[in-house]
Subunit: 632 residues, 2 copies
């Protein structure tokens, strides 16, 4: 088939693609990641590019205004190559996928939970220094036997196994080190495996990575396994976003030719990028990193390990596995020492994964006599309720709205995101951004504040519809929608107005309804009441800020005493870190995943009613939200 040449500017990258290719794919092919939060469905409008010249076919889109159309603006995901062309990529359309945002370090590090201190230090990988007797005619056992003989004097009585790779250069290493060596041992199943042997005393260089592999973001920490010190934290957008914003669209993409490979490469790129960046900035040699622990939802784990996830989205939602065997770094292709190991937090079911088990571990829910609740408000939204005696978990199908996805100007809680909003009586808007710069969009906590303020100022009603009666330059009709301008073009960093529209509010309403009703439906299932909860842990990508009062005001969270709430940040990362640092914590995670009973809310009687009743602000049953007073 004839190929055409597409040049992207200002990157000055050129790619040859066959007729019929969309510009989004062409851009990906030459390494340019465009923004998308709808996964290439033509809905979010974030992949705007400008056709400078050439033959590009683009259907009319209600997202692009007439004036834009005249200057050549098209949606890259909907624009089809029909000849050579030159394309301009506006700065604001450039995706941040995979870009490491060190400004987010503070948020992601999150809360170091008190739970974490309870576990003894017994990391996934140990280094033991041995001084061996040199071989003599009377004592000429094999090199490996010599190592094991001394090792068993130093370590507890554990079963030690070896792999061929760790034996291969043993004789040279022993003699290079004059029989003074460091044995690197990793935990695999119920045994300890000799991963490698190094010459000399290398025990002071023992590092590991903890990862939370999220659908939207990938967060990693470099940890000194001797001291438990967190040396650094990085967060990056999951590069898989170029192929779809949520797990369902990625599972569908995985079934396309090379789809699974592309998704796998994308997330490995993320993980390796964080590994390289952190190791280099902390001056840690990658060869000194033998341990990695990952937590993530079940789909992310399948994609990370290149396992076909297709049955996760087909009835009855069966993953290939919820428990992933500890693997060698080389099997995954990570940049850490190839003899090192990678362990994974076990999951419960297709939609309650290892990230949630990690969260339960980090919050100590399975240790408590009293009942508590964890709500992880991320791309999906999962709820676990229970105590040390029993646990029950469900996924809320909330969608990624509170991560900023699928909204006209939604974005993650990173620099430039509006995270606090106040609206005065004259509908003037005062917004704070993370980092204090000009706004680029609105993050989850910003939307919660914004909804709360819109309600208080009667800009939206209980049903979330923008009040068409109010006269204000901020309220206007746009295509089929009404929208409210949060920041005008001159105030923003994106050369456009930042708005919230009816569709956005509908999205957010459904998300909050899904999470709230999941909580109440689960409580009903175990015949408990919200008042029985002694603690509610809120996890998720809200950055370092979540206004609980406002979250209650919009009906996202139940209206109970505020000191019941604890914001725990990225509890998945915290749990991964705990499993990396402590055998006992890892064992606890294995106990947790077995003890959580998974509930499929969609087949739960009464759930639908709960959900529909929650599709108002704050709720159809106002009696449930006594502290919320709305003027009418």
């Amino acid at each position: 088939m004839k190929e055409f040449t597409i040049r992207f500017m200002p990157q000055d990258k050129t790619v040859s693609v066959p007729r019929g290719t969309d510009l989004m794919s062409a851009a990906i092919k030459c390494g340019i990641a465009l923004n998308t939060s709808c996964g290439g469905e033509g809905l979010c409008g974030k992949c705007r590019v400008i056709v400078k010249n050439g033959k590009i076919k683009s259907d009319a889109s209600r997202i692009i205004r007439e004036a834009e159309k005249k200057s050549g603006v098209v949606l890259a995901c909907q624009a089809i190559v029909e000849g050579d062309a030159e394309i301009e990529v506006p700065k604001e359309s450039l995706g941040a996928f995979g870009k490491i945002d060190s400004g987010a370090e503070e948020f992601t590090k999150g809360v170091i939970l008190k739970e974490e201190g309870k576990y003894p230090v017994s990391p996934l990988v140990r280094k033991v220094y041995l001084e061996l007797a040199k071989p003599t005619a009377e004592d000429n056992i094999s090199d490996l036997d010599r190592v094991c003989r001394q090792l068993h004097l130093k370590i507890d009585d554990v079963l030690v196994s070896t792999k061929l790779t760790s034996v291969k250069h043993l004789s040279e290493i022993l003699r290079e080190g004059d029989f003074k060596i460091t044995v690197i041992m990793g935990r695999k199943d119920d045994r300890v495996e000799i991963l490698a042997v190094e010459a000399g005393d290398r025990t002071n260089k023992n590092f590991g990575f903890a990862f939370d592999i999220g659908t939207t973001t990938v967060a990693g920490q470099l940890i000194d396994l001797n001291t438990k010190n967190i040396l650094g934290t990085r967060i990056a957008f999951n590069k898989q976003a170029a192929y779809g914003s949520d797990v369902i669209s990625r599972i569908i993409f995985a079934s396309e030719p090379d789809g699974l490979e592309k998704l796998n490469e994308a997330v490995l790129d993320n993980v390796d990028g964080i590994i390289e960046d952190l190791a280099s900035s902390c001056d840690v040699a990658l060869s000194d990193v033998y341990a990695v622990t990952c937590a993530g939802n079940t789909t992310m784990m399948h994609l990370l390990l290149k396992i076909d996830p297709s049955n996760i989205r087909k009835v009855p939602y069966v993953p290939t596995t919820n428990v992933f065997p500890t693997a060698h770094s080389a099997e995954l292709g990570l940049e850490t020492n190839p003899k090192g190991i990678v362990s994974f937090l076990p999951g419960v079911a297709s939609y309650v994964g290892g990230d949630i088990v990690a969260g339960v571990l980090a919050c100590g829910i399975a240790e408590n006599d009293e009942m508590s609740l964890l709500a992880d408000i991320g791309t999906n939204g999962e709820i676990v309720i229970g105590s040390k005696d029993w646990m029950i978990g469900a996924a809320a199908s909330a969608g990624p709205a509170f991560e900023g996805s699928g909204l006209a100007h939604g974005m993650k809680a990173v620099k430039g995101a509006i995270d606090k909003v106040r609206i005065d009586e004259k509908l003037g808007v005062d917004a704070d951004t993370i980092g204090g710069s000009k706004p680029k969009g609105i993050c989850g906590s910003g939307y919660i504040d914004l909804l709360c303020q819109l309600l208080k100022r009667n800009i939206i009603g209980k049903d979330g519809r923008i009040n068409r009666e109010l006269k204000s330059e901020r309220i206007r009709k746009a295509e089929a929608n009404y929208e409210f301008v949060v920041a005008f073009r001159s105030e923003t960093d994106i050369n456009r107005d930042i708005v919230i529209n009816d569709d956005d509010i509908e999205n957010l309403k459904r998300a909050k309804a899904a999470i709230y009703s999941a909580m109440t439906a689960l409580l009903k299932k175990v015949e408990k009441d919200i008042s029985d909860l002694k603690k509610i842990y809120i996890a998720g990508g809200f950055g370092n800020y979540l206004n609980i009062d406002n979250a209650v005001f919009i009906g996202l969270l139940p209206d109970i005493k505020r000191d019941i709430y604890e914001f725990v940040g990225n509890s998945s990362l915290a749990g991964a870190r705990m499993a990396l640092l402590s055998r006992e914590a890892a064992d606890k995670a294995s106990e947790i995943y077995k003890n959580i009973t998974y509930v499929d809310l969609s087949s739960e009687p009464g759930y639908m009613d709960e959900y529909v009743a929650a599709l108002f602000f704050p709720h159809t049953d106002e009696g449930r939200f006594p502290s919320v007073r709305l003027s009418r």
Copy 2:
């Protein structure tokens, strides 16, 4: 550096090599394996080639006769490239390395020992057929959990672990097979690992290979793991012979640049050649082969696994390991199913390896109440004495003479080898060859017969020296030596006379002395006498024939009742087969290697006296050989 072009005929292969390369290396580089039994030292004369034209420098050699020199004959290992050249390779100089000799199948299959029948069938790899319930909304555990749940109903209570690779395509396979599947399980350490899952019922296709990796030959068998049937046997010369004939010269070569890689590649080529040949001729798909078990001496195991063997030859003779962890086929690079496993018989020490442990297993020495002895007369010569209560083992440093190496016309027990010899009173020679063809050389059992006849006809004396007084066309001076013509040029298949000379006899005498004195020294060490032995097992590459009377006559074996002797052929291969077929046999091998006490004869007081006393035919102490009557 300038390169020159060397063309080898009649192969018509051309190679470019720098000035100074020897012709042996040039030949190897273009895939032509020349004969060598001295390892390229210019001593054996088996790599004769003819320089047809070009600049080749060759020092005078006493091995090449004047007439040969005139026609351009040089030793390839000693001939140096100084310009372009054309080289003719005579048929008899072509090495048989790696050539699979299916005629040897009968010998190698050897004795199926009664011991073998005693062990239950519990092969290294099992296939279990499962019909799984299909997932439903009520029963939607993960695919792996579904497999394991059913598996545990079918198999004994063993610890099952999985590897990432066996999980990767599980979901497709389950659905492809409509949830009827075959689980392939392999033994690793004390657990069972799920190696793979296949769609449908594949239990009737379960095959494995047993290998004896010898210094001189590599022997393999394809076995149906369901029926224990041996489907075929192949033997090939170890291709490493091109780099040295014995373990010491190969260990030295391994330290040269790329030496270890070349030796590893050579033996892998052997193993893969046998695997492919047997699988194809038995119509077995390589993907149905998940199990391989190897026995071999400690150096061969190091080279097979690309482990540096250098300390095996340095005081105090320490191997990297005697126990080799079960590996995946892919780690070795074998042609069998890459998810399959390879297990190794454990060894005792640098010079008593897994081949001897296999032999002890095959002969049942460690099961017997009474004391017996195993003598494995191969490239080295190892002895084990003992019973179920104790065992003691040593290496005899006999050299490979009885495998035909290092002798003017020595060869392995394959087609064309003289294996039986009679000399009449007029010194006429009547020789049988294996396969009945014209002789190419003499194998171990042929040399034993020949020495016996030479002694009986007074052609050699008790000291082994050829009788210079006898007048016969068969006895003649050749350079510094005397030699006896066994077959004249016209009778042979190699265009030269086949002879035995003083050096050959000296070599054979030292070899028989080393083996005999190792037996007696070991017996002395445990304060036992030959008469205490209830059984003597003789293993080694003698083909299907060893005349015990003649072996006693030359003093190789003790002069005791002949029914004590049992010729067991390749007991290393038999032991490997047993460990492949039975978990209990493999466990027994692990018991055996721990229970054999290794004795270093060179530091054993009295051994040297024993050895020197044995450097006569049959022995200096004639009283030990009452049945031997030599005319004087």
